[in-house]
């Protein structure tokens, strides 16, 4: 997966798994996409983070 600049970690909490990914990343931008309001993350929310 050469060329990956940014990793978006999406989960229905405040970033529990994102922190795991941050530990093994090597210079990548790690972005959390999180919800804790009882609603699901929508495809549109992902799309907003895809250039």
């Amino acid at each position: 997966m050469k060329g990956v600049e940014r990793v978006v970690v999406a989960e229905l909490n405040l970033g529990q798994y994102r922190r795991e990914i941050e530990r093994i990343s090597n210079g990548h931008e790690i972005v959390g996409l999180n919800r804790v309001d009882g609603e699901l993350i929508s495809p549109e929310q992902f799309l907003e983070l895809i250039p």
Partner: protein
């Protein structure tokens, strides 16, 4: 998940009702007796997981299911299952926490609790299905890993997946392993060397013999030697505790499961698990229709520590400083 458990040869289930995990209890009560198994509604969560531990040590393939508040009550016995090296499948159907939280509210807040939710800090395998077919296939996988490593395995799911009705052709997700008799290592018995906690090398997995068979089987939650006698001998205790971690850590290449959808040259990698991965996959399709490049990883096994990790796919793995354990 019930269908997956039945396919894996589950013969014992005990649980206590809790939304949104109750459908598993109800379906197990209906389906397990049909194949000669036993399904019990325990008087509470403590009793339910305790029954499962006893059943597993007696040769059953055992499973229980609960939600976050139930996992809190399971915590002590999860530790017992780790120390006793009990093959056991635990389904955590997540709901909003902490405490009573939201019984029918979507959440994925038990990620770290499922992995580390008992005293001592020893690893537990956690699988996270992201679709109804994966609920089936990863439940089968959970039974395989529980037996392979003599360890509790958590299937971490959520309200949406557990309360969704979908028709699935399971023929493409069949169980490839044996469903033969469990819990009796005839080889070790024949050699005459059976000991209930015999492991060599450190990452080895002790053979199992059922309670009630001819061989003496002991079980304890205390630090113990290979005969399961309680000990505080530093060398034995050190070896035991390192073994409990090493039998999982050294075999992460068997445990780490990732579904990769890679588009060469994509600058953005999406990563998710559970119900959230469904929205992610939908977004990937929509982005590609717009000719936007994107890759995606659906994480099916929530552990990423190994240098062998497939997560290296998105970049160089940082070396540990020398001397780091």
């Amino acid at each position: 998940m019930v269908r997956g458990a039945l396919e894996a040869g589950c013969t014992f289930f005990a649980g206590y009702p809790i939304t949104p995990a109750s459908p598993i209890l109800m379906m197990m009560m209906r389906e397990l007796p049909k194949v000669g198994g036993v399904a019990i509604q325990g008087e509470d969560e403590l009793a339910s997981i305790g029954m499962c531990i006893g059943a597993a040590m007696s040769g059953a393939r055992a499973m229980t299911a609960t939600s976050g508040p139930g996992m809190s009550l399971y915590s002590e016995n999860i530790g017992l299952a780790i120390m006793g090296e009990v093959p056991l499948v635990i389904v955590d159907v997540q709901r909003m926490g902490p405490a009573t939280g939201g019984a029918t509210t979507a959440a994925q807040g038990d990620v770290q609790f499922a992995r580390w939710g008992t005293a001592g800090g020893y690893p537990i395998i956690v699988l996270a299905p992201s679709s109804v077919p994966e609920c089936y296939s990863l439940t089968i996988k959970a039974f395989e890993l529980a037996e392979r490593f003599r360890s509790p395995v958590v299937v971490l799911t959520d309200r949406e997946l557990n309360m969704t009705s979908t028709t699935v052709d399971v023929s493409g997700y069949g169980h490839s392993g044996s469903r033969g008799e469990r819990g009796h290592d005839a080889e070790a018995v024949e050699r005459g060397t059976f000991a209930p906690y015999q492991y060599d090398p450190l990452d080895g997995v002790p053979p199992m013999v059922r309670y009630g068979d001819d061989e003496v089987v002991r079980f304890t939650g205390s630090t113990h030697n290979e005969q399961a006698f309680i000990t505080k001998d530093p060398e034995t205790v050190n070896r035991l505790n390192r073994h409990l971690a090493e039998k999982i850590e050294a075999h992460r290449n068997e445990i780490e499961l990732v579904g990769a959808d890679v588009e060469p040259g994509a600058p953005t990698l999406l990563l998710s698990f559970g119900v959230t991965a469904g929205a992610m996959r939908e977004a990937v399709q929509a982005a590609r229709r717009d000719e936007r490049k994107v890759s995606a990883l659906t994480v099916q096994s929530l552990c990423v520590r190994s240098p062998h990790s497939r997560f290296r796919a998105f970049g160089p793995y940082p070396r540990r400083p020398s001397g780091t354990p």
